[in-house]
């Protein structure tokens, strides 16, 4: 198992390199000119100097190499420095001071390092997306279990129908819909997400909870639809197995049979699906963040895209890619760990 994990980890390096190359080429071979916003009164030789200052004068492979160095060498050094200097967990370690003022990946909008932007917006995305996923899974599992146990009952049929709706209604429709219903007509919840809100006491905590309800609801709806579907079919696969009959024959209570014997076996594929679904929900988060104004990664990506801020777009897209590759890896490894019948070696 360990060898498999290590092999997958090593394999993910060329995958990530390839993805970064695709994003890089897409951004740099695209016919847009980053200097297009510069006024026409600026003389051409000054423009040329600005171009060189932005690093656009170099050949493509040099630019790509420099980006790689910045992302995989300079930024980790900054991170380690921060960990040993300011963080709570590792702050007791001596300050490493690895970062010696090399050029970091600079956003053209904020004129600051892109990674600072990421550090600011990643927690927002993680809070909303992570919460939505947890809520979605917690709702989905009981629904899936019960609809499999009572297959073709009214509950199962209506569950199937609602799942189909969850698959079909896109988040950019459910988002405005819940805003109209819960924020405008009923006035129960705020329609936008206030990113600057700080939780200091109980009251501000409830405000935070209330503003998280709508985005979490929209994202969780999709998750619930998918996961409960998988849970149902995994339960159905197991309910007709011989070991279930054995368990019933030896006089176990029905609750124990279903919730212990069948559920534990059915969870194996479902946990993999849960891990595999996390990247796709980040995609959905781009839309949800824009509907509710959550200042997360997807929101930043869209702003950077419209501002023609190539370094930020490059880095943010690549971070999405890292998340996808990481969770695929986790899903593969989890599958092997949970199911003793599966041996990769």
């Amino acid at each position: 198992m360990l060898t498999f994990t290590i092999r997958r980890l090593i394999l993910s390096v060329p995958t990530l390199l390839f993805i970064s190359l695709v994003i890089f080429l897409l951004l740099h071979l695209a016919p847009g000119d980053p200097m297009a916003q510069v006024p026409l009164t600026v003389p051409p030789e000054v423009k040329e100097k600005m171009r060189v200052a932005l690093g656009l004068g170099e050949p493509l492979h040099v630019q790509y190499w420099k980006w790689l160095v910045q992302f995989f060498w300079v930024e980790p050094k900054v991170l380690i420095d921060w960990l040993t200097r300011d963080s709570l967990v590792l702050g007791w370690l001596p300050d490493t001071a690895l970062y010696q003022g090399e050029l970091r990946n600079i956003s053209w909008q904020t004129r600051g390092p892109v990674m600072d932007l990421v550090v600011q917006s990643l927690p927002q995305t993680m809070w909303v997306v992570g919460m939505a996923y947890v809520v979605g899974v917690l709702i989905a599992l009981p629904i899936g279990i019960y609809s499999a146990y009572r297959q073709y009952s009214v509950f199962d049929q209506s569950g199937t129908f609602i799942t189909m709706i969850g698959f079909s209604i896109p988040p950019f429709f459910t988002g405005p819909l819940v805003i109209v219903i819960f924020a405008v007509q009923l006035g129960w919840l705020p329609s936008t997400y206030d990113t600057m809100h700080a939780v200091v006491d109980w009251d501000s905590f409830t405000v935070q909870l209330r503003q998280m309800v709508l985005p979490v609801m929209v994202l969780a709806f999709q998750t619930t639809a998918q996961i409960s579907r998988y849970m149902r079919s995994a339960m159905l696969d197991n309910l007709n197995q011989d070991y279930v009959r054995t368990a019933r024959a030896k006089g176990l209570r029905e609750f124990v049979v279903v919730m212990v014997h069948v559920l534990r076996n059915s969870m194996i594929p479902v946990i993999t699906v849960i891990a595999l679904g996390i990247p796709s929900i980040f995609g959905g988060a781009i839309i949800t963040e824009n509907v509710f104004g959550v200042n997360g990664l997807g929101y930043q990506l869209l702003i950077a895209l419209f501002a023609n801020d190539i370094p930020t777009v490059m880095t943010l897209t690549f971070i999405f890619a890292i998340l996808i590759v990481a969770f695929n890896l986790i899903a593969d490894v989890l599958y092997g760990v949970l199911d003793p019948r599966i041996r990769y070696d």
Binding site: F18, L26, L27, I169, P176, I286, L305
Partner: protein, 309 residues
């Protein structure tokens, strides 16, 4: 199976099973209806969707009169009009044409790419490793961010090349197809790998059939059913992706309605005019829902293990 009297063709069996899935029949029916609605609509409802009519602006749908007697309604604008007086029904039809056209074109293109790669990978051992690695790599690309990037960056040259609407159409169909062929390729490869070892392929090879003829005459007809199922999924994904891009403001130009664009335009004033969000949103959702149900029914009907149960 033996007591059946008359022999029936495979497709009659499939139809028998398909008819039993009520959701799939409804889904198929609705898909036909909505397709006819957008194809024939402009010939029946002949109002120009682009015509600006300031006198008749901000009208409500006629059913608003049921609870609000003072609402501005009229039978010449059955679904109301927007802030420039453009007819909502005509726009819904026109937007549907664009959304459905993008959906069908992207689905067909991604099926062609996926099937080609799948068949090549399954049939030729030399290509298998590299094509499947390519598929794995493509599966780990962040699709929506890349779509956003590609559409934003390549918008200008394609617009000047094909004209504003056609250029955007080519671009969106292209990028959606390029990012959604992977599932089809995987399924087709798996089926081709299994079929290739069967006796009828050996028989065909022994009488001197060329690789090309084996693929077109023997393999492709046998992988039709998984292709059809992934076609329905592809259609749903393509419609949603196009609408999402339009919603985020990187889709078609502003005077060219699609369902996603109408929805995005309606969001700004949805407190006063909720129907401007609801109508296109319901159109997208119902179309995708019917396509998903159709796919569900097709999967059941085309799977011989489930049939006759």
């Amino acid at each position: 199976m033996t007591e059946r009297s008359a022999p029936r063709s495979r497709w009659a069996d499939v139809w028998q099973q398909f008819k039993r899935h009520r959701g799939a029949v409804f889904g198929g029916g609705f898909l036909v209806f909505i397709t006819l609605f957008v194809v024939l609509g402009p010939y029946i409802w002949t109002v120009d969707p682009q015509k600006i009519d300031i006198r008749n602006r901000d009208m409500r749908p006629i059913w608003t009169a049921l609870w609000d007697g003072s609402a501005k309604i009229g039978w010449h604008r059955p679904l109301g009009s927007d802030q420039l007086g453009r007819d909502a029904l005509a726009n819904l039809i026109e937007g549907g044409r664009a959304s459905m056209a993008v959906g069908w074109a992207a689905m067909v293109l991604s099926l062609i790419i996926g099937t080609t790669i799948g068949v090549l990978a399954g049939f030729f051992k030399r290509l298998d490793f590299w094509l499947m690695r390519l598929t794995d790599l493509a599966l780990s690309l962040p699709i929506l961010p890349l779509l956003l990037v590609a559409v934003t960056l390549f918008r200008q040259p394609l617009r000047s090349g094909f004209g504003p609407e056609m250029g955007m159409f080519v671009l969106i169909v292209g990028v959606v197809a390029i990012t959604s062929w992977m599932q089809t390729a995987r399924i087709v490869r798996g089926d081709v790998l299994a079929l290739k070892e069967r006796e009828f392929i050996l028989a065909a090879r022994s009488i001197g059939t060329t690789d090309r003829q084996i693929i077109t005459r023997h393999l492709l007809p046998n992988v039709m059913s998984p292709i059809m199922v992934s076609a329905t999924l592809g259609l749903a994904t393509a419609i949603i992706t196009e609408s999402a891009l339009s919603f985020l403001g990187v889709g078609f130009p502003s005077d060219f309605p699609t369902w996603g664009k109408l929805l995005a335009d309606g969001v700004l004033r949805m407190e006063d005019y909720p129907e401007r969000v609801l109508l296109p949103g319901i159109a997208i959702s119902l179309t995708v829902l019917s396509v998903n149900y159709l796919g569900d029914g097709l999967r059941d009907a085309l799977d011989p293990r489930i049939r006759d149960r």
